[in-house]
Symmetry: C2
Subunit: 335 residues, 2 copies
Amino acid sequence: MKPLREVGEFEAIRRLAAGLGGAGVVVGPGDDAAVLRPSPDLDLVMTTDTFVEGRHYRGAWIGPEDLGARLAAANLSDVAAMGATPRWATVAMGVRAEHDLEQLASLQGGLVRALAGSGAVLVGGNLTAVTGEESYTLTLLGEVARDRAWRRAGARAGDLLAVTGTPGRAGAAVLWLSSSVAPAPGELLEAMRRPRSRTALVAKLAPLDAVTAAIDVSDGLAGDLSRLCLASGIGAEIDEAFCFQDPVLMRAEKEFAGLKSGSLVLGPSDDYELVLAVQPARREACVEVAAAAGVPLTFFGRCVHTPGLWIRSDHGATRPVVEVGFDHFSRDAEG
Amino acid sequence: MKPLREVGEFEAIRRLAAGLGGAGVVVGPGDDAAVLRPSPDLDLVMTTDTFVEGRHYRGAWIGPEDLGARLAAANLSDVAAMGATPRWATVAMGVRAEHDLEQLASLQGGLVRALAGSGAVLVGGNLTAVTGEESYTLTLLGEVARDRAWRRAGARAGDLLAVTGTPGRAGAAVLWLSSSVAPAPGELLEAMRRPRSRTALVAKLAPLDAVTAAIDVSDGLAGDLSRLCLASGIGAEIDEAFCFQDPVLMRAEKEFAGLKSGSLVLGPSDDYELVLAVQPARREACVEVAAAAGVPLTFFGRCVHTPGLWIRSDHGATRPVVEVGFDHFSRDAEG
């Protein structure tokens, strides 16, 4: 154990800054700012996301290395949702003086490796002491062909809706861990602890000109899809069968009465998967690219003129989705 | 009063995101990431800095708008210290649920106006709830001519040392407010609450090819200068008279026995001024540019071969500076 209080700020920074840098980094950590070399003629994307202890994670549920990787995933998915390639990141860490330096180095190691897996490098950061909750803020830059970033606003009625991976599992893991003493299924824990980056798939999809709008699932499928719809001025129909087709969630529902597959798939869940609106004529091309990349891509509904989110049964009847988002400031979110 | 708990996260974000954007911003807040258009053939600089309540500021000492401006200054000075032009920023705010939305909007307003004063725009952010200390992390991008960023490592023995403004006043204000009930002098409060951006001066200095190394004073002149020296593999002599020439600090020393001008000028003080190493032959050119820009620029010493920091008396005798930095994790820094 080497608590930061004993190691000191400057020694800790020296340790954490050592060995950082990589592609496109002219000056790495250790100066007033990092110096980076953007690719010619590309647009830059910029996003930032914070994890707060007790709110976005609990130390008992996730180890430091996974936490670092998950923080990377939260930002990588935002860059991926713009159709962009992740490049450079800074991290601001607010930790207590008794925080162990080795644990902090593990967290940063998980972060750096997850970024590297998507082609991005950590180029600097900030370390400060707190007495309350700890928190980590990652800011990530990416690059995208000029004027070709995927917006939330580009979807049109008739476009198909697809999602990567198996949304709902991360939220199910949190529900399970909060409410049950029984060991949580490994697939749920893995979804929460090790969300996959979809950067490689995005790099293959972008040139297809198939995607008209995109958003990442950082709040829950229904909440995030409704934001895409609002931005695009449309509504969306979700096929009912889609809510009951993930065998892992169906099994979890049987094992633990508190879980309902339908609301797990649509409700609050930080899966960091991507929701894509796709031109119908390009559906097969997307399916082929996803299969080649080994990424599950499920077409689960379609964009419609009528605003709002709708569940469409096998018989074609529709009913509204009761929206389930997550408000960090609401009373229910406390604790 | 509109506490965030009642307003809700998404309404608060809508309010804070409204009207943001500006030069070089293709897509502003409201998507998964901002989209920016870098200038052709320039390098990018990237820095991040966090203010933690009770550690970097106290609500009783600084209003929300000044706090936002000061957060901007902390990052602007890092970009200026690279010889770069500030462009785009994101802010991650961690605030309590009872935080008033109007106060938060004032803070962001101060931030946005201070950035605008240096040619930069806020392009996005993150808002999350905390129960402990509040904190604000700004990440700022700037642009600089390719391979022309000012490094800490470029100073050579014989180079002259200059500093902008009047370092020490911000630290003096904090000392005064922590230890005295007497009203603090207005000039000290102003230095703490409204540090000046040196971006305009940097834009004039950069083409002169005069500056060999630079660092911003975010920790105190002695601490930051020693980091520049360490990076450059040199030492520095500070003229003794320089430590006793700011009339505001000299007056403060007389009025309040706890303050000593010499240690105020060299000791812990977040002034966000710039320390520059300058080629001797370019001194006059720098003086002229600073005078034209209306920015105080004081030549206070020189780079020497002998490592370490030294005070040089009027008679030429030198003695070592007892280094006075600030470690956020040390026991003394608590509270």
